[in-house]
Each structure stands twice: as C-alpha cells, then as structure tokens.
C-alpha cells in the first residue's frame, strides 16, 4: 500500500462519483467501504509490522517474511531492552513519565487559571495577553529553544530535569483550549451567585470552576502530556547526558549506533519503539472521550 495507490484511489473517487443518481446506493456504498478498508490497511500495516518485528530474534528479523511471525522472542527482546547498558531504557521511560506527567500537570493548572481569567474577567491588558497566546503559535521552536539553552546553561540548568520541566509549564495552546472550555462550561450567573454568597475569588476558582472544568482540564492535560512525550527538539537540545534523556532521544541515539560505531541495535530499537507506544496507546484509549472533543474543539474554534 503506497502513497501512489492512495492517490490513484483518490482519482477513482472522482471518476466513479460523477453525477449519476442511480449509482449512489449500493455500488457507491461498497466503493466507500473498499476505500476505507484500503486506507485502514495502510494505517495499520506499519504497526502490525512493528509488533511482528518485536517478536523476532536477529536472524528472524533479517531473514523471515516481515509481515508474519517467525519464532516467539518477544520476552527475550523486552528483557534485552530493559537490561541493555544497565537498564538505561527504564531510566528513559521514567524520565519521559516525569517530564510529561509533572510538566503537563503544572502546565495544565497554570493554563486553567489563565484561561479562566481571560474568559471570565475584564481587565486592562487582557487582549494583549490573548494576542501573545495566539501569536506564539507562529514562533518557530528553534527561536525559543536555542536562547533557552544558553540561558539555562548560564544558570546551570542544562542537563537537569528542570530544563525540560520549566518550559512545559507555559503552554500557550493549553491556555487557548482552557479559555475555550471556560467559555463553554462556566456560566457568569453561577460566578455571580457564588460572589453574592460571599465566596472569595480563589475559593470560587478552586472549588467551583476547577470542578466544572474536569473534562476540559483532562483534555488539556492529555494533549500536553502527548506533546511532551513526543517532544524531540527541546530534549535533544537541553539534555546532554544520557541519564536524563527521554525515550525519544534514547531511541534516536540507538538507531544511529549502527553507522556511528557499527553496533547494530535494530532489534532493540524496534522492541523499544513498540514499548514506548504502549503508555501512549493506553492513555489515549482510556481517555478517548476527552481527546476526541479536545482535538476537534482546538481546531475548530
């Protein structure tokens, strides 16, 4: 299944769906199904191949048919991944969880407070803050990451977890989402009522607004988590020693070993790659209710 096939496919649609009211029912439906099955196969086969490859030993990987199993060496491979170089892979996994988990949690809290402030209060400079949020979508990562690297190295933060955690706290896209969610879920009247009852602004935020924003907050957290988990340029730049790396940087490094030093880690890289998908997949499936709305809301508003 290649791109060319996909495109040919796209071509056929236009031809077959030409104005012909009679053809729309059965044949049309079947055609749609064929198109979707082909597209699904294209989407799934690389993942299938990865799963199969992770179960093979070296000989199987190089010599057997890539799309079917040949021996079951998954556990041996997993053990090898986790024991290679004193279990550095486990360290990378823990780091990825730390950066994505703690960073996103802090970032989400800040974003919810900011989104609430922007959506439900009038204050001087409000539109300027919002302009910063939207404008920052256009800033290339290199323009931020390189000076951050220099600044962090001056205060000795380079190559520490802080170099990853601090930038995660400020996420303009999260703020944008939080503002949209607040507008959709927190009514003015309720806030007024709470104020009349004598609740302080902080209390209103922590015990009413945050509770109403559970769904929105979960979405913001999920998207930030995925974003940090997938980050590449920032960790590559600010994390130099391998004990602080993330899974992505570690796998990148392993995949370059073959040309760099002649050590072929292909089998490790593939098993490691499969393992690094697992937390992401579990999280996305468990929270699919949230991220569906998040993905679409973020794009449409």
């Amino acid at each position: 299944m290649t791109l060319i096939e996909e495109r040919r496919n796209a071509h056929q649609v236009r031809r077959l769906n030409k104005p012909d009211p009679a053809a729309r029912s059965r044949g049309g439906q079947r055609f749609l199904l064929v198109g979707l099955v082909l597209a699904s196969a294209y989407s799934l086969f690389p993942v299938w191949w990865l799963i199969v490859a992770a179960t093979k030993n070296r000989t199987g990987l190089y010599q057997s048919n890539g799309l079917w199993f040949s021996g079951m060496h998954l556990w041996a491979n997993v053990r090898q991944v986790f024991t290679y170089e004193n279990g550095i892979f486990l360290r990378w996994t823990a780091n990825s969880f730390l950066y994505a988990g703690v960073g996103s949690l802090g970032g989400t809290l800040i974003a919810l407070a900011t989104g609430y402030g922007l959506a439900r209060f009038e204050f001087p400079g409000r539109s300027a803050v919002f302009a910063c949020v939207v404008g920052s979508f256009l800033i290339p990562i290199a323009l931020l990451t390189l000076p951050l690297y220099l600044m962090f190295s001056k205060i000795g933060l380079v190559d520490t977890p802080w170099a990853m955690l601090i930038p995660c706290l400020i996420n303009p896209f999260s703020v944008y989402l939080a503002k949209v969610y607040t507008e959709a879920t927190v009514p003015f009247e309720l806030l007024e009522a709470a104020r009349l009852d004598g609740a302080g602004e902080l209390r209103i935020f922590f015990s009413i607004v945050l509770r109403m924003m559970t769904t929105g907050g979960a979405t913001v957290f999920l998207l930030a988590f995925v974003n940090t988990w997938n980050a590449f340029f920032l960790p590559l730049t600010v994390l130099r020693g391998e004990e602080n790396w993330t899974l992505n940087i570690g796998l990148y490094n392993w995949s370059g070993k073959r040309l760099e030093s002649g050590v072929d880690l292909t089998s490790l890289v593939l098993t490691g790659a499969l393992l690094s998908i697992v937390p992401m997949a579990v999280m996305m499936v468990a929270m699919r209710r949230y991220w569906r709305t998040g993905v679409t809301l973020g794009a449409l508003k």
Binding site: L3, R7, P21, P46, L67, V129, A142, L143, S255, A299
Partner: protein, 294 residues
C-alpha cells in the same frame, strides 16, 4: 465589573504572564540581541574570543547563504506537494466516513487514527525500517513486481518522508474535517437530494465549502510545522547521512550552526529569519485562502 474584581481576574493570569516573559519574550529578545554580534577569534583562537557588534551582517550572510536558502526552498516545495496530497486524502476519507452509518464510521475512524497515537519519532523509526533494504518488507515486495526501489536514494528521500508524514497526519486531519462535516445541518443534504443533486454534487457544493474553514486551519498549522521539519530528516540522517546531509532543512542548519559549528550568533540570526519566513508564509496562505472565499 467591580474594580477590585478586575484585578483579581488579572491575578489568575499572572503565573502565565510571568512564565511567558521568561520563556518566550526574553529568549526571543536574547536571540535577536545575539544575532547582532559576531565572534572574533584572536590569533589562532588560542587567545579566546571576543564579541563584536556587527549590525545586520549575520542577516545579510543568512540571506545570501545558499545552503540556508536552498533548505528553505526545499521544504517549501516539499510542503506544496505533500500538504495538498495529505489534505485531499483526509478530506476524501472524512467524506467517506460521513456517508456511512455512524457505527461503521466509528470503527473505521479508530483504525485511521492509530497512526496519530504513535509518537513522531517512533513513526519515523518504523517507516525507516520498513524502507530498509535489510529488514523492511517493502524491498522484497518491490522485487515481486520487478521493482528495485531504494527508498533512501537522493530522488526518493522526500517521497519517502512525504509518505511517512502523510501516514502520520491523515487520521488527525480527517478527524478535524469529519467533525466539521458533522456540523453541517443534515436537512441541507436532504433538500439538495430532493432537488436531484447527486452525492458527488452534495459533496462538492455543500460539504466541501462547509468544511473550508477547518481545511484552511489544518493547512495553516501544517505549513507552520512543515517549515520547521526536523525529527524525520534527523532520523533519516541516522541511516543515510550521504543523502540527508546536515543542511537538509532550515532547523537542521540552525541546530548544526549552534551546536556543532559553535556559531551561536549566526544560528540566532537564522532562527529569526526563519520566524520571519514563517510569518510571511502564514500571512500569504491566509490572504490566498481568504481571497478565494470571496
């Protein structure tokens, strides 16, 4: 709103504002400042180096640096081919899903979204191994059809990366377009069908115009991302450094200048230039699509 309440509202945004100043504004200012200097080596570089103000020299050098300008051109050309292909496929799949019953659509939607769940770096690793002549299934598959394709050949690297990005991006874009399609009032279709419009006509005259906004937005976000492409070429460089050299994309050049050549000032100037190019590209894209709508 009462005065004191206003300030309390503003206080909620203070942590973000502070963070924004320290993590966005100051770094950008710092990069701009640094870009105005050059490093001067005294003697053979043994006596250390000093910074010297050089005005816009770094920018002039960047604009006439053929490696940098070529890399920009390379990614722009690539974006002009890959983005329309990807968005077209996503649009078609969204239209397909929209024509199915919601139960069947839900099942396909999950399949099509699987690539989106996979981190970009892992996606690149998987495809690089699929392309690999040693372990990948695509090379033997080509032999069956009498094709001896080499996915890492200079002429094939961009199509190979393009396929990887398309695979990775279709699901996400499809979901956004599909969500926009769900927002089209259903009675519009019924009315058109009663008037004798074919399904194709309904799609082109009602559905596609209706999701224009979503398409423009995903297109814009994709352009911004594409000009900054780094991960995929960096991983390709791991296996085929001859084809994917260290000045393959603008960000790769910037990274190299900063961390391998140690030329931070020039790297800063190039990243400011890239930001300006990004702004210009987004502006042009916006103008172009806004005009078409009139």
């Amino acid at each position: 709103m009462i005065r004191s309440q206003r300030w309390k509202g503003a206080a909620f945004t203070v942590p973000f504002q502070l963070g924004f100043v320290f993590l966005y504004l100051i770094p950008i200012g710092y990069a701009v400042y640094e870009s105005l200097f050059v490093e001067h080596q005294s003697g053979l570089g043994l006596g250390g180096s000093t910074q010297k103000f050089s005005g816009l020299d770094n920018y002039q050098q960047g604009l006439t640096d053929s490696a940098f300008m070529n890399s920009v051109l390379r990614v722009v050309l690539f974006a002009c081919v890959q983005l329309p292909v990807m968005l077209l496929i996503s649009l078609l799949l969204a239209l397909f899903l929209d024509a199915l019953s919601s139960k069947a659509a839900g099942r396909f939607r999950i399949f099509l979204l699987v690539p989106y769940m996979i981190p970009g770096v892992v996606a690149a690793i998987v495809w690089i191994n699929l392309y690999s002549p040693d372990v990948g299934p695509l090379t033997p598959l080509g032999k069956v059809f009498g094709l001896s394709w080499n996915f890492f050949a200079p002429s094939m690297v961009w199509p190979s990366i393009g396929n990887l990005l398309t695979w990775h991006g279709i699901g996400y874009n499809m979901v956004i377009i599909y969500a926009a399609l769900q927002g089209v009032p259903r009675d519009l279709f019924e009315a058109a069908r009663l008037d004798g419009a074919s399904e194709f006509r309904v799609a082109t005259s009602i559905k596609i115009p209706y999701v224009r906004g979503a398409l423009v937005l995903t297109g814009m976000l994709s352009i911004i991302q594409m000009l900054q492409i780094f991960n995929e070429p960096a991983l390709f460089r791991n296996v085929t450094p001859q084809t994917v050299n260290d000045s393959f994309t603008p960000i790769m050049i910037i990274y190299n200048q900063a961390f391998n050549a140690g030329n931070y000032h020039y790297a800063a100037a190039l990243s400011v230039l890239l930001a300006l190019i990004l702004g210009l590209a987004s502006f042009l894209f916006y103008r172009l699509t806004a005009k078409e709508a009139d």
